[in-house]
Amino acid sequence: MLNLRLSDSSAKAITGAQVALVGDMSHAGMAPVFGEANEIKPGQYQGRLNLAMAGDWVILLHITTAGGQRLERQIDVNSVRPN
């Protein structure tokens, strides 16, 4: 489960954005996992990704704001362990 808070440079919540999630392992050859995060409160988004293998993951956020602006952010998630 991924919880995100989106805000602009003046700390004002970004609402109405579309957030696509892509999870990649740190090495080549593994299938990426896809998901999306939905807005649960103004500026707060929640999504789910199934990180199927233990190891280091990189999550890419593809964000499209209500105004059409496109942003990309990367989150490194190291040492994922199996449940």
């Binding site: 892509v22 990649d24 392992m25 740190s26 090495h27 080549a28 050859g29 593994m30 299938a31 990426p32 896809f34 293998m53 233990a54 190891g55 280091d56 990189v58 190291n78 040492s79 199996p82």
Partner: protein, 487 residues
């Protein structure tokens, strides 16, 4: 007449199959420029990998340098070695650059006598395995690109100073891997008819073909000092086909043989000597075999537990010394204990006349099939499960430079399901184990005709230990971290 006294007739069916007899393929291989033509595409791919590695996406699964190096190149390499022979060395892009450089720089020196063995390349082979784990090369396009660049640089320096194919024979770790693995290949560059060589006085296959009436070499002979009539097996053979082109009698072919058969006998080999007297070659076989397990161990969960435990035990927080200890245990201590014990038991039980160390050296080659089985299982796994990833990575690379020629990247394309690939992995390991049993039995039969089983069982036990460890490894949960010591 007693039928057993009739000499066997050599029917065309009983002769080895010769790849050069295949129309088109034979024509290509006989063509003097076959090698550069095969090398050129790989050179282009290498340049693309370097550029993408240095300037492309930093994420390994999105980059051609890491995807092609650690999935496709390694996978294709071991499968070609298994199914054909050392054809990668034939198409080696590093040698194309070297050849171009030698038009301007003529090497003046002979390779130092003290280094005319495999010790340097054994060390480099182990070093490559070590740096692969330490710097997590599989996760870094940038480091992967620099590794390829370093390879090109080293080739140019070594073969810029030293004559012949010094880099291939004494330095190149990939080449040594190929030389050892190609002992299990079904094809070998070999003379077709020894009688033709007996009558030959020019020895062009080793000396090079000269311009009539002059000493000018117009087609070079073997740069790796393998004299064709006395060449045995694939060790040190880069399949460069220089001997094929130089032979004035068209007497060198790419002939079929029983894979692994070259490990069964111990004749004197041109450019090599006796396998049983080459401790450096045995060390290479050890790094090849035990390194196969170690390389796979680096990608499964238990390695992190071992590293953390060692770190706590020795109060070490840096990865390098901990990894160094693991490498020393796997590549030195474990082989010495296992092979040393097997050699001791063989001496005592089978009454072998050989001394302890020569016995160990001789039987080490019997483990090569098991090692190759593990490399096949490991590299085959990554190759097959990530087979199609080259499609979206290429699509993405073109899109990123503004040429979306192949459309949107299809990131969902990956490869074969891992449960199917695991069955193939088990097959490779069984094949390797069976090969090791066959070779060690052959050596035992040769050594101790009256106590074959007593000589065979200790080495079969070592093979069984390695096979069990390999099977355990492939059933471990895979885990690839770039942060080993994090806990």
């Amino acid at each position: 007449m007693n039928p057993s006294s009739i000499p066997a007739l050599e029917t065309p069916e009983s002769l080895p199959f010769d790849l050069m007899r295949i129309p088109g393929l034979g024509h290509l291989f006989r063509w003097r420029y076959a090698r550069p033509v095969l090398q050129a595409p790989l050179l282009v791919v290498s340049v693309i990998m370097i550029l993408h590695g240095l300037f492309g996406p930093t994420l390994a699964p999105k980059n051609l340098a890491t995807t092609l190096s650690w999935l496709h190149f390694r996978g294709v390499l071991v499968l070609v070695l298994l199914c054909a022979g050392n054809f990668f060395c034939l198409a080696c892009p590093f040698m194309l650059v070297r050849q171009a450089a030698r038009r301007f720089i003529k090497p003046r020196f002979d390779w130092p006598r003290a280094l005319r063995n495999k010790w340097l390349s054994v060390g480099l082979f182990a070093l490559i395995l070590f740096t692969y784990e330490l710097f997590d090369l599989w996760s870094s396009p940038w480091w992967t690109a620099w590794l390829i660049l370093a390879y090109f640089f080293t080739v140019l320096v070594v073969d810029g100073f030293f004559k012949h194919a010094s880099f291939c024979k004494f330095v190149c770790p990939i080449g040594q891997f190929n030389f050892v693995a190609s002992a299990l290949s079904p094809f070998e560059v070999k003379v077709r008819n020894q009688d033709v060589c007996t009558r030959c006085h020019t020895l062009d296959c080793i000396r090079g073909r000269r311009e009539p009436g002059s000493e000018l070499v117009i087609i070079r002979g073997c740069e790796l000092a393998l004299y064709q009539p006395r060449k045995v097996g694939n060790m040190d053979c880069t399949f460069c086909l220089d001997c094929v082109h130089a032979c004035p009698h068209d007497n060198v072919g790419i002939l079929s043989r029983l894979p692994g058969s070259e490990l069964l006998a111990d004749p004197i080999r041109s450019g090599i000597g006796y396998f049983s007297r080459r401790k450096d070659l045995a060390a290479l076989a050890i790094v090849f075999t035990f390194g196969a397990l170690l390389n796979a161990f680096g990608m499964v969960s238990p390695v992190y537990a071992v590293e953390s435990w060692l770190g706590r035990l020795l109060h070490l927080s840096h990865e390098a010394p901990v990894l160094g200890i693991i490498f020393a245990v796997f590549l030195i201590l474990e082989p010495v204990v296992l092979l040393g014990a097997a050699a001791w038991v063989t001496r005592v039980w089978a009454g072998s006349q050989r001394a302890w160390l020569p016995l160990m050296v001789r039987y080490t080659y019997g483990l090569v099939p098991m090692g190759f089985g593990m490399w096949l299982a490991h590299y085959g796994f990554h190759f097959l499960t990530g087979l199609y990833t080259i499609v979206p990575v290429t699509q993405s690379a073109f899109a990123n430079i503004g040429w979306p020629l192949f459309g949107e990247p299809q990131w969902s394309l990956t490869g074969f399901p891992s449960n199917i690939v695991q069955v193939i992995e088990i097959g490779f390991l069984l094949l390797g184990f069976a090969g090791s049993l066959a070779v060690t039995y052959g050596l035992a039969e040769d050594d101790s005709p009256t106590k074959t089983w007593q000589a065979f069982i200790p080495w079969a036990t070592v093979g069984l230990v390695l096979w069990s460890a390999s099977m355990w490894l492939i059933f471990q949960p895979m885990e690839m971290r770039a942060t080993m010591m994090s806990g």
